[in-house]
Each structure stands twice: as structure tokens, then as C-alpha cells.
Subunit: 348 residues, 2 copies
């Protein structure tokens, strides 16, 4: 990127443009690899001294919407990023930037919601920060959450059965040919809900974000064993996450379109708006790559959890293809491209 160029929405939208921007313009400015999972991996979390660290700023607009708000979004997003690497979430630091004039009632809604996630998951907020800026300088509050975690106690037994290269963490580069891809529920709910709220479309049906902390899902999966990699498909949706898996593990992934759960209201809203539910963000889903010998058992265990009821095997890792290939409903195949960015901005 040249000095006179300017930042555009796509530089933060989680797709290929952001990916290239980070790798070519940002990471070279920083120190080289430190720790077991360094920043260059661009994974969900990083690891140093056996401490797992992740950080995300959340800028969702509107800040309160069906199924959640900025507070639950921030907490769940951070907990899921820790879980996705195979960590047991331990604590969260929460930094709040508010515009002057924000109503306390709105702030309270957001923070109570964050606190409920904390109570439910047992992950405490132990550090915080509060800043206020002028209301001409910022429109809605921003919450940044940093999470720390320890290696999940089930990880040794889990990875022994996974047969991946990385015998310590569920990193994106750990997929093996033959692994089954499990998706823990329907896709597109969050992105379509935010867009619907923002634009006032008022789609019919139970429009609601899927925001959830996937502690139950990951505990169940790791207890059964054989999980080689995990990733929560947020910005850019499963199209982005699957392509990251494929690229980082240097494998191909074949996905069956009909096996990917999409709710009716998401499908029809997506069709009306010309938005692919595979390319918009989710906030309560996980993609797992699981050793074929364990996949069925892992799926069954996940389906017994509250957040994994609709889990399905959606594909398989192959070494004889490149990228992500979608077997379509009508019997053909097409490449599921990595999106240039998420079509809906400010969803997380």
C-alpha cells in the first residue's frame, strides 16, 4: 500500500483485501515471531508462555439488536476466539470508549448483557478501562475485549486422536486430508439480522443473531477427541473461514451445499438482498476439522449441547483439489471464493 492511499471499509472487512493489507502493509512493521502461535499465523488467538491471548474491538451498529448487543457480542467473540485455538478461557479485559451524551440506560443494557455472558461461562472480567470522547468524534460506543486462556485440559488426549502436525493447538494450519468438516449450526443469522435492523427491512420469521459463547460445544468436542483445527466464522463468513483453513493447511476442502444449515428467513433475506449467507458473519458458530475416525462421535456429542443442536458434517479435506469447492444443490460444483470483504460492514 502506498503512503498516499487511504483506508477503505474493505481493509477491515475480514476478507481477501484485509488479509493482503495485514500481511503486506501491517505485519512487516512489527517484530518477528514470538511465542508458540505468533502474530504472523493470523489465527484466532496467539500463544506465549503457554498463555493464550486474543483481542478484538467491536463496533457493531446498531449496538442493540434482536438476539444480542455490543456487550454480549464482545464477550462471546473473545471467548470463542480462545476456544477456537483449544484454550480454556480464563479472564477478560474490557475497554469501553463512549461518546459523550450516551444514555446510561443503553450503557447498562450492554454491560448487563456482557456480565450475563461472564456468569454463564464463568469467565470473569478482571481488568477494564473507560474513555469518553466528544459525540461529534464518535457515534456509538466501542468495546474492546482481550481474553486470556490456558491450554484446555482435554487437549492432550484430543490431539493424540487428531493426527495433525500441530500437537499443541487447534491452529488453522492443522487440517489433514480426510478430516471431516463439522459446522456447529446455521450460517448467516448474525449478519442478516444486523443488516435487517439497520435498514429496517422487517423480514418475516424469527430474525435473531446467533451470538453465543461456544464453551459447551468445544468442551463436548474436545472430550470426544480428534479435533485438529477450529475456527469461528465471523467476518467474511464460512466462505472466508474455509478458505483460510485451506490456504494455511495447504489442502483443498470439498463442501456439500445442501448439508450447510441455513434458516429459511436467512435464505430468503439473502436472496432478496443479493447477499450470500456463506459470506456474512456469524457470532455463535464454529467450524471444526475432525479426524474421520472420530467425526461421527464428535458430531453426536456436539448435537447434544445447547449451542450445537443443528451441527452437521458439511465437507471433507482433500489433497487432490485446491481451495474450497462447493458441490451445489443442483448437482454441479463451483469454487467458493474467499470474499473480498464482508458485504455487511460493522457487524462485529
Amino acid at each position: 500500500m502506498e503512503d498516499h492511499e487511504r483506508i477503505s471499509m474493505e481493509h477491515g472487512a475480514g476478507g481477501e483485501i484485509m488479509n493482503t493489507f495485514l500481511k503486506e502493509a501491517i505485519l512487516p512493521l512489527f517484530m518477528k515471531a514470538t511465542g508458540e502461535i505468533p502474530i504472523e499465523y493470523m489465527d484466532d488467538s496467539a500463544v506465549i508462555d503457554d498463555i493464550v491471548l486474543t483481542i478484538d474491538s467491536h463496533t457493531v451498529k446498531p449496538v442493540i439488536f434482536p438476539g444480542g448487543d455490543l456487550g454480549s457480542l464482545a464477550m462471546c467473540g473473545t471467548i470463542n476466539d480462545l476456544l477456537a485455538l483449544g484454550a480454556l478461557p480464563r479472564a477478560i479485559g474490557l475497554a469501553l470508549v463512549m461518546p459523550e451524551g450516551l444514555e446510561f440506560s443503553q450503557l447498562k443494557t450492554i454491560l448487563v448483557s456482557a456480565s450475563e455472558v461472564s456468569h454463564k461461562t464463568g469467565v470473569a472480567v478482571i481488568a477494564g478501562d473507560t474513555k469518553v470522547v466528544g459525540n461529534r468524534d464518535l457515534d456509538t460506543p466501542i468495546i474492546t475485549t482481550a481474553g486470556i486462556g490456558r491450554r484446555h485440559p482435554f487437549m492432550d488426549a484430543n490431539l493424540e486422536r487428531a493426527g495433525g502436525r500441530n500437537t499443541r493447538w487447534l491452529s488453522d494450519n492443522n487440517l489433514n486430508p480426510g478430516d471431516k468438516i463439522i459446522l456447529t449450526g446455521s450460517v448467516g443469522d448474525h449478519g442478516i439480522t444486523i443488516l435487517s435492523e439497520r435498514e429496517g427491512y422487517g423480514f418475516e420469521g424469527d430474525v435473531s443473531s446467533d451470538i453465543s459463547a461456544l464453551t459447551d460445544v468445544m468442551d463436548a468436542a474436545l472430550a470426544r477427541g480428534g479435533v485438529a483445527a477450529a475456527k469461528d466464522p465471523t467476518r467474511g463468513g464460512i466462505a472466508n473461514a474455509l478458505n483460510e483453513f485451506a490456504r494455511k493447511s495447504n489442502v483443498g476442502i470439498e463442501v456439500e451445499e445442501t448439508s450447510i444449515p441455513v434458516k429459511d428467513w436467512v435464505a430468503s433475506a439473502g436472496e432478496m438482498l443479493g447477499i450470500d449467507p456463506f459470506s456474512v458473519g456469524n457470532e455463535g458458530k464454529m467450524l471444526l476439522a475432525v479426524h474421520p475416525s472420530r467425526a461421527q462421535k464428535v458430531l453426536e456429542c456436539i448435537r447434544e449441547t445447547e449451542n450445537g443442536r443443528d451441527a452437521a458434517v458439511i465437507g471433507i479435506v482433500r489433497e487432490d483439489i485446491k481451495g474450497v469447492v462447493l458441490k451445489t444443490a443442483v448437482g454441479g460444483t463451483r469454487i467458493l471464493e474467499p470474499p473480498v470483504g464482508d458485504p455487511v460492514p460493522r457487524i462485529c
Copy 2:
């Protein structure tokens, strides 16, 4: 705070109003104490599982100014918060929120500056996040940094000589009557620089922020031993930090006005603007409470470091007084009140 009330600048300005707001309106919404230094302590960092965690969002305006910028500010602020509890900083997570249209050259300046702090201190950025929002929704970039650290290797020997109640960390509640208060350099530089830049005052003299990571100062002090507590006086300046020390440790502090280093340009700018240099933020200073038997040696060691050349003993902890009492230059005494907020907004 009532539901219909609105957030004002003072709720984020680091003084008494923020303190009351956090204690009465925010903290009760969250889970109870977890970890050795829980969030209720409202200390510079928190501790869980022997991991030290701190987080701060940085919203300084302008983002580039004499002596530093948003990038160095964020890195140094987080490193200093870890050091202030007696931690050895290990790694940082950095989350960036940018307005659409930001020039890449400005972003690069900020990130190169952050990276320089990383190289100089050996504290790597290991996790990150990038978001972009519309330029009507945000005026200047926000950087949130979370830092993790381990207990400093010198802490056992240091605290053995300090005689405090907390034998593990340099918490704000650990001051003892008789402890000497050491300030590691001049005050007000950062706040006055930001205000001067923002308003275009163009004061004479070497106007420059004091942004620094105080690794050298804390290493030197802890190696000599006897440090009971430390605090970096950012928002609300030393007036706020000294009052927090006094309140949390349930002691009084007597401070000698003439012994507090204030640069000439800071003093004259402060006088002209009616701003007390004791109540504005610093970004490269530390206040230490040191056992009287070690204070002179600790001072000498600090003065040999790059960032502690102008260090001075500025006061003493007393049990027979309340709050912070200032012995003025003209021979009288006055109470140094905790400021309601920092008189200069958006300095960090």
C-alpha cells in the same frame, strides 16, 4: 447513576467523578472478585493464575504530536501499567479501529512508532485486530492495547525489604507509614503538550510529551528493593494518583511542592491556561512508595537510568494525616484535592 442520565466527559477523565461512576454504576454489574488482584481494586493491572493483565483504549487527539503519537502512547501506557504492579511485561495485543479515508502514511507513522517501543522493550505484539468504520462515525483512529505480564523476577527480594501488607504485588493499597514517595521525573509534560498542539498555542521552549516505557526505571528500582507500591500518574496527574494511594492504603501523604520537578515551559503554560500541572496526565513517569531504609539507594539507581534522570523524593507517607497535604513553596500547607477529572480531555 439514573437510567435517563447521560455520559459526560468527566466519566472518562480519570478523576473523582469517574472513580465514583465506576464503583457505583459499573462494577456492581459484573461478577465478584476473581484472582489475586481483582477488578474491584481498580489498580493499574489485574492478576489471575499469576498472569498480569491490563487493557486500555487510547483516543488521543491529535494522534501525532511532539514527543510521540497514538502508537507509542498505547504501547508505553500498557507496558507502564504492567510495570506498576510489579510485572515483567511479556506481550501485547493491539486492536485498531480506523475511520474510512485515513491516510496510510499516518497509520504507518503510528504503527512504526508502536513497533519501535516493542523493539526497544522486547515486548512483542502477538495478537491484533483491525476494524474500519465510516468517517462520519469516528474522527481519528483508536488503538486498544492489552498487555500480559509475569511477576517480575526481582519481586520476592524487593518486597521482602518493603515491609508492605501485600507480599506479592505493588498494589495501590500497599503503602506504609514512613515510606518515601519517589517521583521519577517532571510532571505535566504530556497533558500540556497535547493541549498546546490542539489549541495551537505555540509555547516557547522544548514542548514535548514524556511518553516512555519505564522498564529501565522499574528494573533499577526493583533490583535495589524496598518498593511497596507503584503507579503511573496518567489521567488526573499526580494529584489523582497520590490521592488513590492515600485512599486505598488508608494513609496520608505529605508532599513538598518545591521538590516536584516541573519544567519551565510546563509551569508557565499551566499558569497562562489556569491548569495545574499536578492534575494533568503524564505518560512516562512513575510514583513509587519505598521503604525509608532503601529510598535513597533506590533514588540513586533510578537517577542512573535514561527515563529516571530527574527523579526526586517528593514526600512521605504519614498515618497522622488524611489525604494528600502539599507543603507549598511559600511555606504554607494546602490539601491537594483529587481532581474531579483531567482538565485536558482525550490526552490518552
